[in-house]
Symmetry: C2
Subunit: 407 residues, 2 copies
């Protein structure tokens, strides 16, 4: 398996495009389309928030009930959440319009939105956007990149990743793009992510792979503790790689899951590192836990703590806040057994041994914590389970962004 | 029942003092003592964090196992948390020293600490501090006020409240002081709070009153989502009011609980309004819930949301974030039934009706949200249960305070 250039257009038979439809933003693209040359098996995971945006309800029906799709239309600027019956009609009219433009049924068009909650979309603008998107579809890396830019809101960078891997002697590709910077917190969760692959795989196995993967990837990302109304991960598989279709567990399914993990982990690190106002990617690794679920709970608790995040912003080795955040997580562990380390490209330092602070160098710790990617690693010395969570530091810029986002 | 001046010295037979012991801060008081003329029934509630500071372990033993105490010694600057066996010895030596100075047994001396985690106390300074505190004890309002200042860390204001009320024809008084500004979040929880009363009440009923009360007071306060290692509420009752001792539920117990609620609610509002970096007290009231627990869960989720708190900082009527935070709380409700209001001294405005935004005036909403105390009130229209939570806005100043607290 190797990482390659590109995102949603990396796999065979997938095209993408972007358009400036004036949905809410001015002077930038704000709609994206992804389309496959042939119908795809479709899997999806969605926000656990009771308040679900209209496109989440639309896509969940397609992913869960129908299981196949051929295109995705996404807009940024307006979330189409808390928009009632009118919001649902926007989804169906968007799918209708895109279906007509692409010569496919509306039920094979997935719809996604991100942006402000509570505003209605202007359907004339959405339809005009689709009129631009459909003829602009291209299978190039550059087209995928344009689509990745069009779905950004407060993101400062587009986020794409792709791998090539072997499936029964055939070359397969899996790639994707995502957006997400605020309102990001564990619980399927996070943001919008669109993944495409040319692997041949049954819908059942596709959903199985995705549902298992997000527990250790997207559900382990936290920027600010808020689980959005719109979070969606969609995965389309069009089978053009020509491998024998994956219909059960085994070597090929494992290879597929490994490719999915590689792409999603890379996208998660990009999301965390680009958290609203962030100056650093903050990784928390829990090792030596007695259960996987405890390891996840502890890693998420630390990565979500405002006090820990503020300390990371200040390059302050404030291990007391880390132990405190582990303590209120609800997971079981023995404080007096914990070993704690800080790690980055500038080195590695042990801060605690068996629950007590070592006489470490604050200067050395500050140097390690001043890098753009820093990691806190705790060994509970209870068992062999581990988990990693990704977040970012909490900065004044986060407040600036969120104190007046709507205006 | 009437509010009166004062705090821990308001009730008969309680004295307080403060001293500058140089524990960690310079040029300010950092130790406080409270002592009763006679032994008291003692109740306490403590942090749920697995990582418990040494004084929490010390006090819990006294409150749960012994049930009586006569004095409290508190220091600010160093939390005596994550300090191992040495930290426990500090507690016992502090109690020993204070017991000798006051002529009471060490087991009747409660100990509390707040400040940086992981540092050891300097016992010489603590003992010198006790040497100053003991002869300085006074029953005046001013002495209570000095004690309330000495226990502050990042607090900007001392926090005291007291009420007088009738118990079986006798005048009783209940007062208290607390500190807490950061690392504050639901779950017994919050901070240090010391309450004193001259009511005569059995230890069993005293603990019952306190345990019931904190569910709707201190456990409903959130500044930053971090549950501290040191959170402690202590309540001492010395019986000098001369009422017939409360030993069971009934009219007197109700009167006592009402007094306790009044004082604690006032202290909670003070803590929330003085949250680190806060410019506004933010109150969230959930009404029409089908269960009390759901109402509490929803109120806490909204008051804890970074995105909602940042919007309050920006005086932005971002109701979408409020509905979103209700949605991921885990409590059941119907988004399409929710009525939402913003209220403050500048007026009252309805923002949503039955889950949809009304065509309200943004200007009017901003005016209401620009006051020092603002309230978001949601009616779920499902049942008759309600709950209130208190927090504050999230500001750049919070980051400044927490990015380099240790230095």
């Amino acid at each position: 398996m190797n990482f390659v250039e590109g995102g949603v257009t990396a796999a065979q038979g997938f095209k993408a495009s972007a358009a400036a439809a004036g949905i809410k933003y001015q002077g930038r693209t704000d709609m994206a389309m992804i389309a496959s040359d042939v119908p795809c098996a479709c899997a999806g995971t969605f926000t656990t928030n009771i308040v679900k945006a209209a496109p989440v309800i639309w896509d969940r029906h397609i992913a869960r009930e129908l299981g196949s799709a051929q295109a995705i239309v996404c807009n940024s600027g307006i979330a189409n959440a808390c928009t009632g019956e009118e919001g649902m009609q926007m989804c169906s009219r968007t799918a209708q319009s895109a279906g007509e433009a692409l010569g496919i049924s509306p039920e094979s068009v997935l719809v996604a939105s991100t942006g402000v909650i509570g505003m209605q979309l202007d359907m004339d603008r959405v339809e005009a956007g689709i009129g631009m998107l459909s003829p602009a579809l291209e299978g190039t890396t550059e087209a995928g990149h344009r689509a990745a830019r069009a779905i950004m809101t407060t993101d400062t960078k587009p986020k794409e990743a792709a791998v090539v891997f072997q499936l029964g002697g055939k070359k397969a590709t899996l790639g994707g793009m995502c957006k997400g910077s605020g309102m990001i917190h564990p619980n399927m969760c996070t943001m919008l992510c669109f993944l495409t692959t040319d692997a041949a795989i049954s819908q059942e196995m596709l959903q199985k792979a995705l549902s298992a993967d997000i527990k250790d990837t997207f559900n382990m990302v936290s920027v600010d503790g808020d689980t959005s109304t719109n979070d969606t991960v969609l995965l389309l598989a069009n089978g053009l790689a020509g491998n024998e279709q994956i219909t059960a567990e085994g070597k090929d399914f494992q290879a597929f899951c490994a490719a999915l993990r590689a792409v999603n982990e890379k996208l998660c690190r990009m999301i965390a590192g680009d958290g609203e106002g962030a100056t650093a990617l903050f990784e928390v690794r829990i090792e030596g836990a007695s259960s996987k679920e405890d390891a996840r709970t502890l890693a998420r608790s630390v990565v979500s703590s405002n006090l820990v995040k503020a300390a990371i912003c200040g390059h302050d080795a404030n291990w007391g806040r880390i132990l405190c955040a582990m303590g209120y997580s609800g997971a079981e562990f023995y404080p007096e057994r914990v070993d704690l380390f800080f790690e980055s490209s500038a080195g590695k330092i042990q801060i605690m041994k068996e629950g007590k602070a070592l006489d470490y160098s604050e200067q050395e710790a500050t140097k390690i914590l001043s890098q753009p990617e820093v990691c806190a690693r705790a060994d509970l010395r209870m068992g062999s389970e581990s988990a990693t969570a990704w977040g970012c530091d909490l900065t004044k810029e986060y407040i600036s962004i969120n104190a007046d986002y709507r205006s």
